[in-house]
């Protein structure tokens, strides 16, 4: 269970990215985060695993307070939270398999991993995760030789490598075509339903929200303006969230 309480993030210079955001996510839920670009979706997701430090507020996860955790504790917390990014964020010059193995960095002994020695079971797990996303034959190629859709699948495999209890997906399909978008979302749906992984996924297109999400929250200018199932987003709520000139696309 993820509890976000009065989360506020103000950047140096005064920009208010998030203001007093509070919500709860029960374990195993697929939560969609929607809103205009710049409304705070990325900031919110990054505050949850503290890639960005919140200015105020608390984030509790399974009872543990993420916001005041120490460095060592953050390591143990972060390794249970997988993250998928809009621009894939693979290390281009490294091989695909190395990118997937990065998912186990939170678990393996730091000294041995420095010299690139991973335990055999981790290697086998990495290959099986690649198999799950259908990329076993690309395992030893350089990551930047893959197409966009393939790279995002590697990103998903890397996140799954962590055996996460929660996955944060920051606009994972924004750079992909509709077919690829659905296939990536289906992987997220698979791990959500089969492995009971909580998924927080920020999305732009409402058809994906309707199809995959159990619940939705909407941000506007850093404030939480809507919380509820996707079916409740009628035209009025849509204009609330996206503004008067917005039109539905698809």
């Amino acid at each position: 269970m993820l509890k976000v309480e009065h989360l506020t993030k103000v950047y140096e210079g005064g920009t208010i990215a998030l203001e007093d955001v509070s919500f709860e996510v029960p374990a195993g839920e697929f939560l969609a985060v929607i809103g205009l670009s710049g409304s705070g979706k990325s900031t919110l997701l990054r505050c949850i695993n503290r890639l960005i430090e919140p200015t105020e507020g608390r984030i509790l996860w399974n009872g543990a307070d993420i916001t005041s955790a120490s460095q060592d504790e953050m390591r143990r917390i972060r390794r249970k939270i997988g993250m998928v990014f809009q621009h894939f964020n693979l290390v281009h010059r490294s091989k695909v398999i190395t990118n997937v193995l990065q998912g186990s960095l939170g678990y393996v002994n730091p000294a041995l991993s420095i010299i690139n020695k991973f335990p055999k079971e981790q290697l086998e797990r990495a290959l099986s995760q690649l198999g799950r996303v259908g990329l076993t034959d690309q395992a030893y190629k350089r990551a930047d030789t893959l197409s966009g859709g393939q790279q995002q699948r590697v990103g998903v495999a890397r996140a799954m490598m962590q055996n996460p209890e929660m996955v944060l997906a920051d606009e994972p399909v924004a750079s992909l075509d509709p077919v690829l978008a659905h296939s990536i979302m289906q992987y997220l749906e698979l791990i959500n339903k089969e492995d009971n992984v909580t998924v927080l996924c920020s999305l732009h297109f409402l058809d994906l929200v309707h199809r995959y999400a159990d619940n939705t929250i909407a941000l506007k200018d850093g404030h939480l303006v809507f919380e509820g199932p996707p079916s409740e987003i009628d035209d009025a709520k849509f204009k609330d969230i996206y503004g008067e000139e917005a039109e539905r696309v698809g």
Partner: protein
């Protein structure tokens, strides 16, 4: 506006001409031009081969007196060595003008008259010297020996034997009077020395670049703002670590001393030494495997942690002993091997030197590592303290600790001042620095009282940047003077000076690359729970490898150029020989040096551009 700029420009350049003593009359002065011609001509004739010389005859026919119908001498080949006589026939005793060409430059020429019998050389006039092109024109009187047959005017000079395509072999005597056989032409002394020295020069560049790269790579991370800016340490942790560091160094040095004593017991016996080198690492491996498990699912208990720590300490001491033993073995191996290898003796010497370096360096490195470990432990203690004690306890403690840490650092500075300026007064080297340090520590503690985290990362960043900028602004040519005093004049000093400058220059270039990496992969690796070091290895390093290689090659090119001239200031290599030749006015030998430099630099440039194509 423009007019003002032009006037300002004129004034500036006018002053510049005056300040740099621009003097056109010097450029046109006759004596200067003559000297210039001499030097340039010498430079155009590099002293690559030496010829043996022997007395050689150059003949031309003459009739004394003129035969009826006059005498037209046969045509001579203008390009080979010859003399022509004007007029071609005279009355005995009359003067003739002898014109010679293609002799050796500045050759000593003696002219003779040879009667028809050919068995006498009658000297004419005095010995004289041909000009730089090997030409001469002499007017002198003939002897009063008439004949109806053809007589000969002969020029005798020392001319070189043999040619490049048809070398000759000569028996002669060396400087001590021993009989030796030499080839003519043969490679000159200047060429031989140049060859040896240019090889040395290339290796100066190689060693300097290698050493520089190794040190610059870790240093560059300290000079990268994006890596350093987030490193914030709570004050109490910082203070405890600063206090623990010198304590650790002392303990480490003591431990290394003990290990050395232990190893000396073993090294007296070769068999025991080998035993130690083989058995100890095996034991260490077992110990480390046990102490560092591959995957940690649960947090280990304090008892297990303590046991692991002790095992690691013992393994570390064993490791130091092994290193001493290895150093000893390397030295023994080198000493045994060198005489057996003939011209590859340097492999044996290399082994000995490496062993020597290893032994000398072990104590220092062990002290550093012990300091790092102790500082790490102190840091963990501080973290534990902050987690288990309330703020009202932790904050007041951090004040005196900070004062002690500050005083400690300033005391080290005091020691340095005492050594540099030979001050023994305890007030100046202990009390005053200590007091200043304590005050600074308290000041820092007061400033971060509320937030408690000191931005150590940025401080280290600024310190590193300033240090490298400082070192970079001193040319290696100047630095080599200091190194020459330390390790002696020669190539070693040159290599050390170059590597110091290389470290500073490369650290800056490398760190600029680190600062421009994509942050996305960095975020992604951090999000998996990786430690800072893991993040650097998996997200930063793969992104910076191609520019690092590129800059390394760039620096290699620069070092090759610098190593050719570092000899001018005492750094060995071909620069030393070039400077010597110029001082001795031996421009022909200098020309050989310059030729070698040009060839080496050009070929190294070409090589590195090929490597760059393949790798980057």
């Amino acid at each position: 506006m423009v007019a003002l700029a032009i006037i300002a420009g004129v004034v500036v350049y006018a002053y510049g001409f005056s300040a740099t003593n621009v003097d056109i009359s010097q450029i046109k002065a006759e004596t200067r031009l003559a000297q210039l011609t001499r030097v340039v001509r010498a430079l155009a004739r590099p002293d690559l081969v030496t010829y043996e010389r022997t007395d050689t005859n150059t003949d031309a026919p003459i009739y004394m007196p003129c035969p009826p119908g006059g005498f037209t001498p046969p045509k001579v080949d203008q390009y080979s060595r010859h003399i022509t006589i004007e007029p071609a026939c005279v009355n005995p005793g009359d003067p003739i003008t002898v014109h010679g060409e293609n002799f050796s430059p500045n050759a000593r020429v003696t002219l003779y008259m040879v009667p028809p019998s050919g068995d006498l050389n009658l000297i004419l006039g005095q010995q004289f010297v041909a000009d730089e092109t090997g030409s001469f024109t002499e007017t002198l009187d003939t002897r009063e020996r008439a004949s109806e047959e053809q007589q000969t005017i002969r020029a005798i000079t020392r001319e070189p034997i043999g040619s490049i395509f048809h070398p000759a072999t000569i028996d002669t005597f060396d400087s001590q009077g021993n009989a030796i056989t030499v080839k003519s032409p043969r490679i000159s002394e200047a060429a031989k020395v140049t060859w040896v020295k240019i090889i040395q020069t290339v290796f100066i560049a190689l060693l300097a670049t290698t050493l520089g790269v190794f040190i610059a790579i870790p240093m560059s991370f300290f000079a990268s703002r994006n890596l350093m800016k987030d490193i914030k340490i709570p004050l109490i942790k910082l203070a405890l670590q600063i206090i623990a560091f010198p304590v650790g160094m002392v303990l480490g040095a003591l431990a290394a001393g003990e290990a050395h004593r232990l190893s000396l017991n073993l090294t007296s016996n070769l068999a025991l030494t080998w035993l130690g080198v083989l058995v100890l690492p095996a034991l260490m491996l077992v110990a480390i495997r046990w102490a560092l498990p591959a995957v940690e699912d649960e947090e280990p208990s304090p008892g297990v942690r303590l046991a692991r720590a002790m095992v690691l300490v013992i393994a570390a001491v064993a490791g130091v002993v092994v290193l001493f033993l290895v150093g000893n073995l390397l030295m023994r191996f080198g000493v045994w091997l060198a005489p057996k290898l003939g011209s590859f003796f340097f492999l044996g010497d290399f082994s000995t030197t490496i062993g020597d370096i290893l032994i000398a360096v072990i104590t220092f490195v062990t002290a550093l590592m012990a300091a790092a470990v102790l500082a790490n432990l102190a840091g963990r203690f501080a973290v534990w303290l902050r987690a288990h004690a309330s703020d009202s306890v932790v904050r007041p403690i951090s004040l005196p600790l900070s004062a002690v840490a500050g005083a400690g650092m300033m005391l080290l500075l005091g020691q340095l001042i005492s050594w540099l300026y030979k001050i023994q007064d305890p007030v100046k080297i202990i009390w005053v620095p200590g007091a200043i340090g304590a005050l600074l520590g308290l000041g820092l503690a007061a400033r971060v009282y509320k937030k408690e985290a000191v931005n150590v990362g940025l401080t280290v960043y600024y310190a590193a940047r300033t240090l490298f900028n400082g070192i970079r602004s001193i040319e290696p040519l100047v630095m080599v003077i200091v190194f020459a005093v330390w390790v002696g004049l020669g190539a070693f000093a040159g290599a050390l000076a170059l590597s110091l400058h290389t470290v500073a220059a490369l650290a800056k270039l490398y760190s600029e690359q680190v600062e421009s990496i994509l942050t996305g992969p960095l975020e992604a690796v951090q999000a998996t729970g990786a430690t800072r070091l893991q993040t650097i290895v998996y997200a930063v390093i793969p992104q910076i490898v191609p520019p690092y290689i590129s800059f390394t090659l760039y620096r290699w090119d620069i070092n090759v150029r610098m190593s050719t001239i570092i000899g001018f200031a005492g750094g060995g290599g071909i620069g030393a020989i070039l400077q010597q030749n110029i001082r001795l006015l031996d421009y022909r030998a200098a020309s050989v040096n310059m030729l070698a430099i040009a060839v080496v630099v050009a070929s190294m440039d070409y090589l590195s551009s090929r490597v760059r194509e393949r790798i980057v």
